[in-house]
């Protein structure tokens, strides 16, 4: 997808800087994510990939720069970030399911609390989502009773319950046993096929190559190279990209 039509820009990041105390982790990042696009962010550890992703829904307060999501400037203090976040689902490396709620309650919580749905309607929606991630039989289980892969699929269902039109994935398979990576990636592939706008920080090069429309390579707090998976994996131009891919592939 190489459409640069302004109106389909879902996320526009301009000159993003982020410091942790004196440590500059993002050194002026510019990026545009288009509607329906699947963008994978790859790069070595400590390159700022996760921080970049977490700035997109303001879980991380940026130091300077501008981020526009769905037309809202989330760096503007007057914009209600909670409202914007309802439209951005996020999936974490550590799943972060609520351990004191059943699987179904985990998914129903936000839609009910934020008054988007009546409990009965939210329950129906939760069951549909569980069906979709193949876990309808686990509706009344607690997260602690599920495997890592199952927990992550529930976490995806929970993020989808608010009907977001953007999904952020922060290394969603890094905490999983190898045999469970596939089931989570399969759910993500389905989402991608359905046209969800996705930004995925990942170490799964196979997934990045197969599913993404565009790959961003990050190193040292900046995007060093970007392009189609064919370009990045087949014919990387930047020395850092070549070096990184040589090590991981």
């Amino acid at each position: 997808m190489s459409n640069t039509n302004k109106s389909d820009e879902k996320i526009v990041v301009t000159n993003l800087h982020k410091y942790f105390e004196d440590n500059e982790v993002l050194k002026g990042v510019d990026a545009v994510i288009h509607e329906g696009e699947v963008v994978c962010v790859i790069g070595p550890s400590g390159s700022g990939k996760s921080t970049f992703l977490r700035c997109l829904n303001k879980l991380e307060e940026l130091t300077s720069g501008k981020i526009i999501v769905d037309g809202y400037d989330i760096t503007d203090k007057k914009v209600n970030i909670n409202k914007v976040r309802e439209n951005i689902g996020m999936v974490f490396q550590q799943f972060n399911l609520f351990p004191n709620m059943t699987v179904k309650k985990n998914i129903m919580m936000a839609p009910v609390e934020l008054k988007k749905m009546k409990p009965l309607e939210a329950e129906k929606k939760a069951m549909q989502l569980l069906e979709r991630v193949g876990l309808a039989d686990k509706a009344s289980a607690y997260p602690g009773e599920l495997s890592g892969g199952q927990q992550q699929r529930v976490a995806i269902a929970r993020a989808l319950a608010m009907n977001p039109d953007i999904m952020l994935f922060d290394e969603p398979t890094s905490a999983l046993d190898p045999e469970m990576v596939g089931e989570v990636l399969d759910v993500m592939k389905e989402l991608a096929k359905e046209g969800m706008t996705m930004v995925v920080v990942t170490h799964e090069m196979g997934f990045a190559r197969e599913v993404s429309d565009r790959v961003l390579f990050m190193a040292d707090g900046g995007i060093k190279e970007e392009g189609t998976p064919e370009q990045i994996f087949g014919n990387p131009q930047n020395e850092r990209t070549q070096d990184f891919l040589k090590k991981v592939l």
């Binding site: 689902g89 351990p99 004191n100 934020l114 602690g144």
Partner: protein, 225 residues
């Protein structure tokens, strides 16, 4: 040994005192839990003013004996208020409940704070990323989990509060120890009377411990992992 005599003569008196002990304990724990929650949230606030107020409050309560606090509240504070309202007085029960609640509140605030900090950061991040506000995240996601982490320390504080009611005998609050003192003052049967009082505390606190075991079991949700 003359337990039967004490049973016959003093039991109505002691049970009367025990009722007040239980009542004052319950009231102080309930009020203390609410004070504790507010102080805890103030202490965790981003704003320096509430944080400082909570810090000073905890510092004073923890740094002074409850006996002295009780004397200040029962005898000292009314003197100050009498400057404006000459007829003002606290009765011993009111002063006692105020002292115990303020005391429990300070310790409970720290217990809650410990519980809240024990909830992994990912929990609030997950709730916030769904669009929940800070306060909703606190109420719906963090506090229920923090409560579970706090149960053993909460019960410990409840036990301390129940036992601390006995200190309030110095301000003349007619709880069980006070009643016992009245009785031994004229009969001099110290061992039997105070042993019975000790057993009464033991009974109440054993009940509380049974209850807390039950609650802890009920709050277990972690399943297999």
């Amino acid at each position: 040994m003359d337990f039967s005599r004490v049973f016959n003569e003093a039991m109505p008196l002691l049970l009367d005192g025990l009722k007040l002990t239980a009542l004052v304990s319950l009231a102080s724990i309930a009020i203390g839990m609410i004070i504790g929650l507010f102080i805890c949230l103030m202490k965790m606030s981003k704003n320096v003013v509430p944080r400082a107020i909570a810090g000073v409050y905890i510092w004073i309560i923890r740094g002074t004996p409850m006996l002295v606090q009780a004397l200040i509240i029962f005898l000292g504070v009314p003197q100050l208020i009498q400057v404006v309202i000459p007829s003002f007085r606290f009765d011993a029960v009111t002063a006692g409940i105020i002292t115990l609640s303020l005391n429990a509140g300070a310790y409970l605030a720290e217990i809650y704070r410990g519980g809240i900090m024990a909830v992994p950061k990912g929990q609030s991040e997950a709730a916030r990323s769904l669009g929940l506000s800070k306060s909703k995240t606190m109420r719906k996601v963090i506090l229920p989990q923090a409560f579970k982490f706090s149960v053993p320390s909460l019960v410990n504080q409840f036990i301390i509060t129940i036992k601390d009611t006995s200190i309030l005998t110095v301000i003349g609050m007619a709880e069980v120890v006070n009643k016992a003192q009245q009785y031994v003052g004229s009969t001099f049967v110290y061992f039997e009377t105070y042993s019975i009082v000790a057993l009464m505390y033991l009974a109440i606190i054993s009940l509380l411990m049974l209850l807390s075991n039950h609650i802890e079991k009920k709050l277990k949700y972690e399943g297999k992992k």
